[in-house]
């Protein structure tokens, strides 16, 4: 425990200081941290899932509060909780199946039999419901509040669970943790490979001689464009530099190195140039449940310009950026204000920032937000990674591609 606590603290500090940048890195680190938390967690014989969930929740809360704007942390914590429950549940159903079999063979005690069948029927029904129903962020969300005691099934289910536990204690104790860690490993792998999976779809969306505009730098976008280039598509890219971080310059450099025709423009020229652009492809910070996008600053402007000129606005994002929360006033509440020094040279403007002048209130404010909120109506398409083999991630398969309204609907139904 103490060593995991140290790890957690270290990560919390990093998040607080914004040392970890980019939702991809954050997601990966979070998953790794949770994995080590789980592996270090000592589990009792009973109610192992509850203990694990408890531990993950405790850590997750710390992480989320460390940087509430970094929604990927919350997404991964939820994902891990979901994995624990799924594994627990699948173990339970196999156990129930065994029980049923034994019950069927045992027909001496009628009353007991009746009781058993009723019980097992209820348990199987519950189990079936929860397995048949596609596991989704919605269930994850629902389950967060009441997690400790066996959450998904009815009380009778809990009963049967207890019985099944007692039936094969030894195998289960080891198995649950092992399965959970396996699943988390898969999750980490998915996070790592999301770029490639998204990039695979590039050829379907980029045609010959296309003109693409993007703003700032996103690794997903970069890989997306490069994948299309590797498939011998020739197209041109306009890169808006993305002040005040000028990550667009980095992207331009990378694209040029791969032999793409790249034009760097200032952010202010976006409106002027968008009339000659076929498609806008951008990365995102997070995708909210309503289909809105928390994106690097400046993208709302780009999206509005794209809408004005009927240019498709495509958001590429790994599924770790899909967030089951509904945004409220996201421009303010889900935003980071960065240092003014990125905009103004303190040396030059030190006299203007003097608090002593006039009424004592500073005359000059410098606003340097990090994110923009793009409402769902401005987004034409989300492209996320599709190829999830594991069952618990099926919702995202349906989500992979769809137009805005479709995406919103999917989010509503599936989560």
């Amino acid at each position: 425990m103490p060593d995991t606590q140290a790890l957690v603290n270290e990560f919390v500090v990093k998040l607080k200081r914004r040392k970890v940048e980019g939702s991809h890195a954050t997601a990966r680190l979070t998953a790794e941290l949770l994995r080590s938390v789980i592996s270090q967690q000592r589990v009792p014989y009973t109610n192992q899932a509850g203990v694990l969930i408890e531990a993950v929740k405790a850590v997750g809360e710390q992480l989320i509060s460390a940087n509430p704007v970094e929604l990927a942390v919350g997404n991964i914590v939820r994902r891990v909780l979901h994995i624990i429950r799924e594994e627990d549940l699948s173990l339970a159903t196999t156990a129930i199946g065994g029980l049923n079999l034994s019950a069927g063979s045992d027909d001496e005690d009628d009353a007991e039999l009746d009781d058993r069948t009723v019980l097992s029927a209820a348990a199987v029904a519950a189990a079936a419901r929860s397995t048949l129903r596609a596991p989704s962020l919605h269930t994850l969300l629902e389950d967060i509040p009441d997690s400790v005691a066996a959450p998904h099934t009815s009380s009778s289910g809990g009963d049967s669970e207890g019985k099944s536990k007692s039936a094969d204690k030894n195998s289960r104790t080891r198995k649950l943790k092992h399965d959970v860690i396996e699943a988390i490993n898969e999750l980490i792998q998915d996070i790592d490979t999301c770029h490639e999976q998204i990039a695979e779809q590039a050829v379907e969306h980029i045609h010959q001689n296309e003109v693409i505009l993007t703003l700032g730098r996103s690794r997903t976008v970069m890989e997306f464009l490069c994948a299309a280039k590797e498939k011998k598509r020739s197209f041109r890219v306009f890169v808006a530099e993305g002040a005040p971080r000028y990550q667009g310059h980095v992207l331009a450099k990378e694209l040029v190195a791969r032999g793409l025709q790249t034009t760097v423009i200032t952010d202010s020229a976006v409106f002027a140039m968008i009339s000659r652009v076929n498609m806008v492809i951008v990365g995102a910070h997070a995708i909210m449940a309503n289909g809105g996008v928390i994106a690097p600053v400046g993208l709302n402007m780009v999206a509005l310009a794209a809408q004005r000129h009927a240019v498709p606005f495509v958001v590429v994002a790994g599924s770790h950026k899909l967030c089951p929360l509904y945004p409220h006033n996201p421009e303010v509440l889900l935003n980071d204000l960065r240092s003014p020094s990125e905009l103004l040279d303190f040396g030059e403007f030190s006299d203007c920032m003097d608090f002593g002048t006039g009424s004592g209130a500073p005359l000059l404010h410098v606003v340097n937000p990090a994110f923009d909120y793009v409402p769902p109506k401005l987004v034409s398409l989300f492209i996320t990674d599709t190829c999830y083999t594991t069952e618990e991630l099926t919702p995202f398969c349906n989500f992979c591609i769809g137009n805005t309204s479709g995406a919103v609907a999917l989010l509503l139904i599936k989560y």
């Binding site: 952010d267 202010s268 976006v270 009339s275 203007c352």
Partner: protein, 659 residues
Amino acid sequence: MDPRKGKMVIDPKVRQVGFVTPGAPPDRSQSVPVESSSPPVSDMSPSGNSLSPVMIPPPRHASDNLSSSLVFQSTRPVPVPAPLSPRRRPSIGDNIMSGSYNPSESVLSSSPTQPTSSKIDDGDFSEDLSSPGWFRRGNPGKVASSFPSGGFDMTAVRSNTFPAATNLTTVSVVKPPGVSEIGEGGLVEVQNDRPPVSKSVKEKPSKAERRALQESQRAAKAAAKAEGSKAAAGGAAPVSSKSTKAVKPPAQKKEVAQVAVSEKKGTDRPPEKDRKKDVPHPRMQFDDKQRVEKAKRRAIVKQTEARNRVELFRHLPQYEHGTQLPDLESKFFQLDPMHPAVYKVGLRYLAGDISGGNARCIAMLQAFKDAIRDYSTPPEKALIRDLTAKIGSYVSFLIECRPLSISMGNAIKFLKNRVAKLPLTLSESEAKATLQSDIDRFIQEKIIIADKVIVDHAVSKIRDGDVLLTYGSPTVVEMILLHAHELGKQFRVVVVDSRPKLEGQALLRRLVAKGLSCTYTHINAISYIMHEVTRVFLGASSVLSNGTVYSRVGTACVAMVAHAFRVPVLICCEAYKFHERVQLDSICSNELGDPDSVAKVPGRKDINYLDSWTNSENLQLLNLIYDVTPSDYVSMIVTDYGMVRASKIVVVKLFYHDP
């Protein structure tokens, strides 16, 4: 050579210095020792000379004459001999030259063959018509020698018929025979020696040569009646005989000449008439290679094409920035036809010292005013036409420095209109005075007072508690904000800025210094800040007749976001900036700034990703200066005629008659 250079440098600087120029003749004498090389020069120059009477509307005849009579002894005889017979006159000129030039030449000139030699030059001239006229200034001495021919040529030239030119060429054919051994040798030499000599040739001729030209013109007039017919006859005969031969040498010369030209485009200017004729269209399409080539040959400003031009903007000039200025500065003293005030303004445009529609326009008008003040109509010219041509040449120079803004175009139109409408009865000084006062009035009424009216209108739209957003650094809006502050209104200002110019910082500093409460942000954060904004005030470079606002790049973004957030957008624009043109996008007509300023982020040393990549042919940097805001984003346009909806801008335009 060097001393002469120094002198040359001095003279264009101040007009009067021209009188002192006679440096040229002495040079000649100095160059005498270099005889071997000089003959070619003489060969070349005559052609130039003969050319000049045709093409150059010599700008300052009077002064030149004076100067020539005062200083330029060699030429002085020339004006006098005008009445004399052509034969005689040339001999004088040649004698003078002969000392410096080529004995053979002098022999030629004195010999009866003289006219033929002069004609040779003319032949060259015809060839050279296409090439820039720098070497027109060949050398004064030669001019003198070519006089007779020039005299009779004049008739032909006057009529401007091509046959005349061809005749001349053929005449030139005659020369080789006339000169026979010597002449041909000279020609050969020309080719060999050209490159080294070319410089001297170019620089030598300017003043003296022009003077000679003028004189030759005059002489020609006098002589034309008497001798014109005779000479023409003489010229015509040889033409038929050896046209083919003649053609060749000129061609070679031409090549040489072009080489020289390319070496030093700027030093010599084509005559104004020529310039005027080919003044680059203000909206020249730069993807038309022929035109670009033409314009380039004419250009004063030496432009090198940008390495990686943006494909989409091939039709706009894309030149290396920062290279022209030193070059132009070094030429400051050599550009004689350019008025120094105009030249200065041009340099400041180029350096980016003056920006903003009003500032640029005022600076230009002031420079024109100075130019008009110092202007004197050349004899035998109509002030109206010559001045228009002159202004045209100034304008084309300014265009080379930086493409005109629409407001400047309007101001120029106004000025030309005024010049054209000058009553013929006015004396020159009166006309100049009227024009100067017209310019003053324009600046006062259309710009300064208009701004005041706009401020008065716009201030009425500011209420207590407002949060006003502005973008970039529009002067009118700054005046509005300061005025509102003086009126004691309580409001906050949001200054939105964008790369690469970051003009907002200067505005911010000025506003904060005046005690206004400001918020500063960059254009990407516009959606964030727009929540708290209640009004958007923007400036404009121009308002087009479909209500489209042509303005600093980024204005459209700001207006769009404001529109999306239901914040009213007020565009402040003086009525003189309105234009009847229509534009749908920002690409057909725009201006490109220095691309390198996109790659470099001043003050952020950590951002140097593109430093080593700017040479990669896959990377292009685009620095647009303007963009176009659709009229539906604009709630209101504040002009000196009142406040109107953007869609009704045509109405304003209708009522707004060009001054």
